[in-house]
Every structure is written in C-alpha cells, then in structure tokens.
Amino acid sequence: MSKVPSAHPAVSRRRVLISGAALALLSTTAAGCGAPAKRPDVEALVAQLDRARADSQLAAGAASAARPDVAAALTAVAAERSAHVQALSDEITRISGEAPQASASASPTPTSTTGEPLPPPKPRDVVAALKQSADSAAQAAAQQSGYPAGLLGSIAASCTAAFTVGLGGGQSS
C-alpha cells in the first residue's frame, strides 16, 4: 500500500529515447528492402490524437452557446481533451522520432471552418462524442503495452468521468 510502482517513472526519459532510437534503427534495418511500414502503435496514437482534437473543438463550440454553468463544464472538457492532444503528441514524437502531422500546436478553432453557419453543438453531442472516445481509447489501451497503454487508459478514464460526472450524462442538454 505504501508504494505503487508505475512502469513509467522507473524508466528515465533518456532510456526511453535510447530504446526508441534503437527500436527505430532495428525496424528500419528489418524493413531494409521493403517500403517503410507504418507502425501500428503510432497509428493508434495518431487516431486517438485526432479524436482528442475533434472533441476539444466540439466542446469549445458547445460552450460558446451554453448557459454559464454548463459552459464551464464544457470548457473544462475542452481543456482536458487539449491536454490529451499534447500528451499524445509528445508520445508520438518520442516513439516515432517525429512530431505528428497536422501539427498539434495549431490552436483549435471553436467556430466552424466550413463557412456554413451551422448551429453550435449541444452538450449532448459532446457527451456522445466522449462516450465514443472513451470506448475507443479503452480498446486502444488494451492493444498497447507499457507507458502508451497507461496513457491511453488515463485518457479513457478521463473521457468516461467527463461524460458521466463532468457533463452529468447530458441531462443538461
């Protein structure tokens, strides 16, 4: 009870970098004469990053049209999903050696970029999106191992808490 070891802190950042570099080297050597294969673990993280970014924008959009108490909860969701974008982007960079494209630094635009004045999303739309994201992150976590599994698990847990408690299951839509 006194201590709960996590796989992550035990491994120094440098060691992760070194082993990542070694792995990258190994995979390039192994793939030697073939076309550079996309690593499935990186692809899974990129898919989660895309979801996080989309959810963050959706929540921010819904916040702009919601009443103040609901807006605060939606803004918190937007911030949490943005934090997920950052953490996933960091991890993708660490294991693949390059930052994910569609730059994670691009700030989310809360308004629709299509030019069409769509009605703002409702809190229940955000709840539905978070439900899907929680399931998706949980499945991805089960298929990864080590730190990425832990990160995706925390993201799944965060999404679940956000739609069940943070947004109260969408009753306030």
């Binding site: 709960v4 796989a7 949980a138 990160l151 847990a157």
Partner: protein, 159 residues
C-alpha cells in the same frame, strides 16, 4: 496512501516485479481502501450514503476480481492488514470526503500501474475499467467537495 499496520498473520510476499507485482499491489491498495471507506462511512452525512456504499461495493468487486486473477496464476494474494494508517485525519464529513477522494486518486495510480505492467489484452481491459471506475468516483467526491472542475485530464497519471 493508507499504510498497513503489522498483522498477526504473515501476508504472502510480494512478487518481485512485473504484472503479478502490480496486481498484488492493487489488491493490497484495495484492502486499505475498503478499510478506509469504513471510516468515510462513519463520518459522512446521509446525503452521501449512496455514493459511499456504491464506491465501497465497487472497490470490493475490484478486489475480488483482482484476487481471482492472481489465483488463476498461482500467485498468493496479499491479506488485509489488522489496521491502516490513514493519510489524513478524519474528524468531519469534509475530512471523510477528502479521504475518499485521496483513496480514489491513489487507486487510479495503482490500476494504471497494473495497466502498464499487464501482458495480455484481457488484463489491460480489466485495468482500464478499474481505472475508469476510480476516475468516475473521484469526480463525484470532487462534486461533494465543490472542487471545480470535478474531473482531471489524466486519472492515475502524472502527465
């Protein structure tokens, strides 16, 4: 973290490392949490009765499931200690809620460790469910404590 006080019965020793050790630690943590919820229950007001009993039932279930998993691998599970030192003194309903929140956050850390150490998809699925359960209950305790926002981006993590 709750810390165990010496028990008359020697508890099985902790596996040295890997998935079994993380699961062993999670069971040991759940023993302390279930003990701690007794204290939370004693000091809580009736309006949180449902939350206390649901949380306690949830942790009991996690403990039993985790013990069954250890058993199936022939790893002896830790025994509950005679008593536990709580991380904070509990003398009011507010203290009780704070202890409950602390225990949920600590449990999330324990389950994330299980998740990171696990070597099968099945164990990872179980760990994510446990981690999510702790995150949801933690959010409910933050509501009781009027902590805003009531959710955090990385339950069980340090990102």
């Amino acid at each position: 973290m709750t810390s165990p006080q010496p028990s008359a019965q020697p508890s099985p020793s902790r596996p040295p490392n890997g998935p079994d050790a993380a699961l062993f630690d999670a069971v040991a943590n759940e023993h302390g949490v279930i003990y701690g919820y007794g204290l939370v229950s004693a000091h809580s007001t009736p309006d949180v009765n449902d939350l206390v009993s649901d949380a306690m039932a949830g942790h009991r279930q996690l403990r039993e499931d985790a013990i069954a998993r250890l058993k199936s691998r022939n790893v002896p599970a830790p025994l509950p200690a005679t008593g536990y030192q709580m991380p904070i003194e509990v003398d009011s309903p507010a203290d009780a809620a704070k202890l409950a929140l602390r225990m949920e956050e600590d449990s999330a850390v324990a389950w994330r460790a299980v998740l990171e150490q696990a070597t099968t998809n099945e164990d990872r699925t179980f760990a994510v469910t446990a981690l999510s359960q702790c995150a949801v209950t933690a959010a409910k305790w933050r509501d009781v404590l009027k902590v805003v926002p009531n959710t955090v981006p990385f339950p069980g993590g340090t990102e």
